[in-house]
């Protein structure tokens, strides 16, 4: 049997194998070894070691534990509540004011952290109770919180983009710049949708009860600006250090991590158990992502060594389809895989397989990366494996899981709409990097 064909069987075995439910990393090691041995003998054992070595020495990925640490510190220190409280009071008279407050805080927080779990939990804790008390629609509330939380992975800094940079061989800074406008577009779509629904049916988001409204307007604005300080400090530390030319993206992550540490110290929220807990959780999430980076790099290297990618790319190009038809299939595939899988295996296993094809079709890789990122945000909002739902259910137990699901699906629709917009108008992603990088 030709090595290329062994590679095809390997992929089929992988798609079946990971759904058995054993940890994906070990399944990939096992399948890579088996099929690699079949294809090119015991050299595959050495390939496994060398691929782990290459991942361990990939300096850009050192940003992963640092951004994770930053997010967890912020969450543990509860530094966002002041901002949310003041925004909610300032807007109290508006119909659907809590939707506005949630999205405002979600967008700010997305620019200060790179992970989703932190956003969804914080927003759930802060907004869940007031929304229930004010009689807000459960589906719309849950959907908005979950969707707002996913912005953290698109609006820089973003762990997903840090991981995607080396895969696409696009500088992380370029991806960061390209993600800003799509992120704002999504925030606008989410807010607009919620407000429109409220306008049509005011029962979905009634004005706040009188006792929730504040008295002095001046004091309220003071609160508001005081509440803006923690996220502003973090944005300045993490993104500012990169934008103002002090640090590379990886170093920017270290600035953000150090910033979060100093911030919790300044607000006297830093305790010994909290620091230890944050470090341990950082380790857990980092291992989850990075160990899978290493194993899927190995799996991909076996695939490449078998020669299958070249074969597949040539075969697909031989069909002579319009390149946008191929793009449609690629996006459809990623969207479908996003239902059962999370973004990590998709970025690391699926995207590299598609990459040679995308390159040969002549698509801009920065643009493609953003399409994948927006597409993959839906992976957080697609039941049954929709982690945002579990986070939310964890902090707002009163909400039914089915209602949360139904709410999330509406916002998933909005994300797909944004995806189509970015495909039709590539400038949404490409205008800002061009502006910054070609003076």
């Amino acid at each position: 049997m030709s090595p290329e064909f062994i590679g095809l069987i390997m992929v089929a075995a992988m798609l079946a194998g990971i759904f058995v439910g054993f940890p994906i990393s070990f399944t990939l090691i096992f399948l890579g070894l088996i099929f690699g041995y079949w294809g090119f003998g015991e050299l595959v054992f050495y390939l496994l070691t060398l691929q782990f070595n290459a991942t361990m020495m990939e300096q850009t990925l050192a940003a992963v534990p640092l951004f994770v640490f930053m997010g967890i510190m912020m969450e543990q220190a509860n530094l966002m509540e002041r901002l949310f409280d003041s925004v909610q009071k300032i807007l109290a008279g508006v119909k659907g004011s809590l939707y506005l407050a949630v999205m405002f805080v979600a967008t700010i927080f997305a620019a200060a952290t790179g992970i989703v779990g932190a956003s969804v939990t914080i927003l759930g804790i802060m907004a869940g109770k007031p929304m229930i008390r004010s009689g807000y629609d459960v589906k719309l509330s849950a959907g908005l919180i979950a969707a707002g939380g996913t912005l953290g992975i698109l609006i820089p800094p973003s762990i997903m983009l840090v991981v995607m940079g080396p895969v696409l061989e696009v500088p992380v800074t370029t991806l960061f710049a390209a993600a800003i406008l799509p992120g704002i577009l999504l925030a606008t779509l989410f807010t607009g949708y919620a407000m429109l629904r409220c306008l049509v049916d005011p029962k979905l988001g009634p004005p706040l009860a009188l006792e929730r409204r504040a008295v002095g307007a001046a004091a309220l604005w003071v609160e508001f600006f005081a509440g803006l300080v923690p996220p502003a400090v973090l944005v300045l530390a993490a993104l500012g250090s990169i934008v103002f030319g002090i640090a590379t993206p990886t170093e920017g992550a270290a600035c953000g991590a150090a910033g979060s540490l100093l911030l919790t110290l300044a607000y006297r929220r830093l305790t010994w158990p909290r620091l230890k807990d944050a470090l341990v959780k950082t380790l857990e999430i980092s291992v989850l992502i990075l160990f899978l980076v290493a194993t899927s790099n190995f799996f991909g290297a076996v695939f490449a060594r078998l020669g299958t990618p070249t074969l597949l790319t040539d075969a697909l190009l031989g069909l002579d389809l319009n390149r946008y038809v191929v793009l449609f299939f690629i996006m459809g595939l990623i969207f479908l895989l996003g239902w059962p899988l999370e973004w990590v295996p998709i970025v690391l296993i699926v995207v590299p397989f598609l990459l040679p094809l995308v390159v040969k079709l002549g698509f801009d890789l920065t643009w493609f990366g953003i399409l994948v990122a927006v597409n993959l945000q839906t992976a957080w909002l697609s039941p049954p494996v929709a982690l945002s739902a579990y986070f939310l259910k964890g902090v707002v137990p009163q909400w039914e899981l089915t209602d949360i699901y139904k709410g999330m699906l509406q916002f998933m629709g909005l994300q797909l709409f944004a995806l189509v917009l970015i495909i039709i108008f590539p400038e949404i992603a490409l205008w800002l990097p061009k502006l910054i990088y070609s003076k």
Binding site: L43, L47, L50, N53, A54, P171, P249, R305, I436, Y437
Partner: protein, 350 residues
């Protein structure tokens, strides 16, 4: 003749397949294929295709890929003497330019020492020097520099290894940085200057979009050699004819690369200056004295620590003692000749 059992050699390069070095590697491959009636063929794989860039030599050694393509000094971490073959800073401190180095390699005993290098490293490969690509430029700067004092005020991305150590030794703020970070870091001002190679590759890299001050004359990589490694077992299984075809093509590649580079770098430099407003500068004189002296010290230290390093360096010194006085003198004619015409062109332009 040179025919034998068909062999396909997959060569993973440490640079993207769009790079100029790969263009010349493919010409070499074509020569071998033609000479062997296609019984030896090459496939060039991009950097990272099977293993990471830094693991390329290990992968060839073990036979994961049949071939690898890099510069000899990429493997200085495995043996310090690799730098004397790949990028002997300041011409090994004994005045060798890239032509003189090739002369040492072909007729001064260098080839035997080059074969010994792989044995010293204990890797099972057969190597071929293919592409002398020196001299490389000093680099790109945000603002002009007029002396070493100016240079020392700047954060400068240097090459790794010994050439970079020498920069540190003369007090330059040498920044270590991955290739992908360099351009964004220059754009943002994280660093103030950087070096990569020479006009054509530098233009491909895109330095001129960010920096305008370009210094051609530098010493850190005045000699640079790209080479090919073939797994030892694969090499031994080739017929004598096939082996000869590869050796002959490798030798041809030496001259072809020099010729190709003059043409391509010339075109690129013209485009950089005429189209992109790049300003060329003369390198400050104190750079040469300081860098040479520091290089000498670094080599002496290495020679003291490592016997094989000393052996190679001694061979280069012995060669240089007789060859360099002649070659330096002859070079004066070349420089005067070319300089006269370049000056004439400059005058006409005004």
């Amino acid at each position: 003749l040179a025919q034998g059992k068909p062999v396909k050699i997959r060569v993973q390069s440490v640079i993207p397949t769009s790079a100029d070095e790969v263009t010349m590697l493919k010409e070499f491959a074509k020569d071998v294929e033609d000479l062997t009636n296609k019984s030896v063929t090459f496939e060039v794989l991009p950097a990272g295709a099977v293993v990471g860039v830094n693991d390329t030599l290990d992968a060839v050694d073990k036979g994961l890929i049949e071939g690898g393509f890099a510069w000899t000094h990429y493997w200085s971490g495995k043996h310090p003497a690799a730098t004397l073959f790949g990028s002997p800073a300041a011409g090994s401190g004994v005045g060798m330019d890239n032509f003189a180095w090739v002369s040492w390699f072909l007729y001064g005993g260098g080839k035997q020492l080059y074969d010994d290098l792989w044995k010293e490293m204990k890797v099972n490969v057969k190597g071929f020097i293919l592409q002398p690509v020196g001299p490389e430029a000093l680099g790109w700067f945000k603002n002009p520099i007029n002396s070493m004092a100016d240079f020392r005020k700047l954060r400068f991305r240097t090459p790794p290894g010994i050439p970079g150590q020498i920069y540190k030794d003369i007090g330059v703020a040498a920044v270590a940085m991955g290739g992908g970070d360099i351009l964004p870091a220059l754009e943002k001002g994280v660093i103030d200057g950087a070096e990569w190679c020479c006009p054509k590759p530098d233009m491909t890299f895109g330095f001129h979009k960010v920096l305008k001050h370009y210094y051609q004359q530098g010493l850190h990589q005045v000699v640079v050699n790209a080479d090919l490694y073939i797994n030892g077992d694969v090499w031994k299984k080739l017929t004598p004819g096939q082996q000869k075809a590869i050796e002959v093509s490798a030798n041809a590649s030496l001259m072809k690369t020099v010729a190709y580079r003059i043409t391509e770098n010339g075109k690129a430099l013209k485009e950089l200056v005429d189209k992109h407003g790049v300003i060329l500068h003369e390198t400050p004189a104190d750079y040469f004295t300081e860098y040479s002296a520091a290089a000498m010290k670094n080599f002496e230290a290495n020679a003291k620590q490592n016997a094989f390093f000393k052996k190679v360096w001694d061979s280069q010194k012995a060669f240089a003692e007789t060859a360099i006085p002649f070659w330096a003198d002859a070079q004066k004619s070349n420089a005067a000749l070319g300089g006269a015409y370049a000056a004439e062109l400059k005058k006409r332009k005004k």
